[in-house]
Amino acid sequence: MSAFIQSFLEMGATTFGSYWPAVSLTVWTLLKIVAIVLPLMGAVAYLTLAERKVIGFMQVRIGPNRVGYFGLLQPLADGIKLLMKEIIIPSESSKGLFLLGPVLAIAPAFAAWAVVPFDPDLVLANVDAGLLYILAMTSVAVYGVIIAGWASNSKYAFLGALRSAAQIVSYEIAMGFALVGVLMCANSLNLGKIVMAQAGGIFEWYWLPLFPLFIVYFISAVAETNRAPFDVAEGESEIVAGFHVEYSGMAFAVFFLAEYANMILVSMLAAIMFLGGWLSPFPSLIPDSFLWLLAKVGFLLFFFLWFRATFPRYRYDQIMRLGWKVFIPITLVWIIVVGGLMQTPWGYLFH
């Protein structure tokens, strides 16, 4: 096997000549990207099933149970069904942008995974400005919704797009400030270093010293992903389905995938920045492992589903008030508290 790989590498080196290092780097990176995106797509598919099952049990129903054992093949059946359907393009729409909308919705949701560390060594791009990159990618995600809503040439879709634009821009500020607290404590923008700064057990993780920021971050994350109770961009009962009302078939499914991929992403980020990533809660008893990260992400994702089954939708003016008049002041005050306490003998609390 190694001889085969060796001969393959030599063949590449002779074919591409001096460009071989660049080419091999590109190919190797592409392979790594596939290795991240494929399991992610699987996780997205089964998150939809988990959502229907969990909400089903919360409402004393069984949930999907017809396709495969316990309905385990339901996501597959849904996917095939959506693939078979026709994508209808509204007649007076802006066709290029109409098709670009779903692409721009899902691309940032995947692109952000480039800097997410799964392990001390397992990360696609170990860049120093990782946290900034994540913030930039999540802020670009709004374009999919805006473009889709505008290009549909439909009033409901347009209203959904406007609501989403205002909401995401508002909550991004609170989210960014919450992360400022984290980088103050960790002294780094590198996600791997942020995790390592939390080493030493469950009480060293940042959820404890930065508790208000953790809560603000998580609620803002629910708002950023347009999930219930902040799902006014879709608002079935008010504006039919909001920005994706004109989409059908796979184009609609891509929006769906993007929403769930974003949910997994923000849960992953919350786990990395406030719950110690892959670190074990009791390092003396159980070793650190990637499985801890999965468990924490799953725990946070369950909250997303729980919220959806529990809370009624927010009124729009209340969403704006919560973002601007409650969350942003809380984060600002706590950043000042953290910065001030760091100069006192209690600074060790924030590492």
């Binding site: 120093d128 400005a129 930039a136 709004v142 805006i146 634009a165 821009v169 008030r321």
Partner: protein, 211 residues
Amino acid sequence: MIFQDYVFYSLAVILLFAGLRVITARNPVHAALFLVLAFFTAAGIWLLLEAEFLAIALVLVYVGAVMVLFLFVVMMLDINLDKLREGFWDYLPMAGFIGVLMAAEMVMILGTKHFGLARISAPKAHAADYSNTAELGRQLYTDYLMPFELAAVVLLVAIVAAIALTLRDRKDSKFINPADQVRVKRADRIRMVSMPAEVEVPAVETEKAKS
């Protein structure tokens, strides 16, 4: 050409194309979206220069916030483009003169005579673990603290002024104090009234009851 050169030239071509389309696109929303593309490619070029903080800040601030609000406004306006394009030829001489003047000024400053490699040497390459962000922060909060704080104050004044100019007490506002809403008790909204039933019993019902 090395690999970076290919990346630079492809980004530069996209940037120039996007910049041209910003001023030639007929639809203002398309023009705004091309501006987004231009920002994005410019960020890519800055990344090639190892200025990762500036590149990401460009995407975060301009693409993620400013342009979103810009689109928000442009999408809602009903702009009549024919009216905007009226008088293009009348303004062309003046605009052309100003354009040529600006190009000449840029050449004078950025030309090889004053900005070439002979005058300003290429920046020295940094090690892989060099953090652009930390370095910028250190400079801003030590050597340039005063200008930085002044700029912050100017921005704060601008924010306060913008809010003061647009804030007006609307008479038809239906604002309700959220604290009052939360504090509402059952007794404030519901009044139980005891009303004796005044039901006219139908004739059929009374006959059924008798039998």
